[in-house]
Symmetry: C2
Subunit: 250 residues, 2 copies
């Protein structure tokens, strides 16, 4: 008979912990500082050099670290790692919280209905027979100023109206992240500039015709299904979006 075996669960894979550790470490370092050598760092973090290197490479890929063979690994001088760029999908609420700002939800409306053809396309579903979806509309205010008008469209299989309780903080993404049966991977976000329409102008209390940043995003799970289709309008001047772009190596 086999021993009961504590199983050790192995909640988090080593490379995830290493990633967090490196992030924290970089946050406390100055631009241009040199990281400990790979063998030293691997020993300190309790992983092998191979595992550490896989993580280091992703940081280099993002431009956060620079590695020079024969010299060392250095922190670049331009990443305020606290201020994440667009390449990380984070809810507005978490971002604001990190920056010490208080957010509120206004004009909250939720309904369950059949998806429109445009929404079906956004969810990457064949258009013939519409599925039932949960639609969540709301305006997010920061310091009592409206900054964003958001709509999320989620098939009922993933989220139902009941999940939007009185304590709803404004983030459908955070709700989906809490469900650990959904393995979310990435979001494809399209970016365009659009003039404010009358409806949006009223909700955001700005004048019609002014320029808004419009992000339409499709949130994918690991099995490549669209879990959430969202359309967001952002008032300029409140949030700064940026992207780190890597130079194509010829």
């Amino acid at each position: 008979m086999t021993v009961p075996e504590p199983v050790s669960l192995n909640i988090r894979l080593p490379h995830v912990q290493v990633e967090e550790a490196i992030t924290a470490m970089i946050g406390q370092m100055q631009p241009g500082d040199q990281l400990p050598t790979e063998p030293a760092l691997a020993k300190r973090l309790g992983v092998s050099r191979a595992t550490l290197r896989e993580v280091l490479r992703t940081f280099a890929e993002r431009g956060i670290l620079v590695r020079r063979q024969g010299v060392g690994t250095f922190v670049t001088s331009r990443i305020p790692i606290l201020e994440t760029g667009l390449e990380v999908l984070e809810s507005l609420e978490r971002m604001a919280k990190r920056l010490g700002l208080a957010t509120k939800v206004a004009h909250l409306e939720t309904c369950e209905r059949a998806a429109t053809p445009a929404e079906m396309a956004g969810l990457a579903l064949p258009g013939n027979n519409p599925v039932e979806v949960l639609v969540v509309d709301r305006v997010i205010t920061v310091e009592n100023e409206p900054v964003a008008d958001l709509r999320d469209v989620v098939p009922l299989g993933y989220l139902r109206k009941e999940a939007i309780g009185n304590d709803f903080g404004g983030s459908v993404l955070d709700l989906l992240l809490q469900r650990n049966d959904l393995m979310l991977s990435t979001s494809r976000t399209d970016i365009i500039a659009e003039e404010t329409g009358p409806h949006c102008a009223a909700r955001l209390s700005i004048s019609p015709g002014s320029a808004l940043l419009k992000l339409t995003a499709q949130l994918y799970s690991y099995d490549e299904k669209v879990v959430d289709y969202s359309i967001s309008y952002f008032v300029p001047g409140h949030f700064k979006f940026h992207v780190m772009r890597r130079v194509i190596n010829k």
Copy 2:
């Protein structure tokens, strides 16, 4: 005594070749297809499994591949790898060429002068004594329709007016990339929506007040200096920008 040893030069590091090979391979595969197993792929590409894994991880990081322990590595269903997103820095001209569109340059103006304070800030230089810069203004047209109004600001040390010849295709970035003494790494691009001003409206032949997408970018070299500060206005509807955002793992 040691053998003379052919030295073999080692022009390109293995992981660069592996990256190209994987890119090519993915391009010929269908979404959802499974890649060969790591040992098989490593053998085929002539590298060790460790090196292959470092590359595979960066692809997974970008959302191009999905890896599942105990199962395999799969191509995701949503990356038309030919259509790059914002996370890759590519000149408008190359992008258009790839898509089979012809670009032209209009309203080309170049001048060498002292940088303004705003430009000094964009170049991440201390503001006290202005440096001399090359400023390149132009409008890019696709199929004879103006689609973008671009300005590049480059310190004279990196580029001079003479480099902008009669055969200038419109891309300062491509000029900088040709110089292989400059090691370019990444670009930080800020994204905002802005209403069209009178000057821009005339150059782009659109009505003032309509919404434009404004990208301001700082191009960094490996030694962390800003090589190029650029301001770009894009007319909506001609180019679609998107970003793949990864979900923050809690």
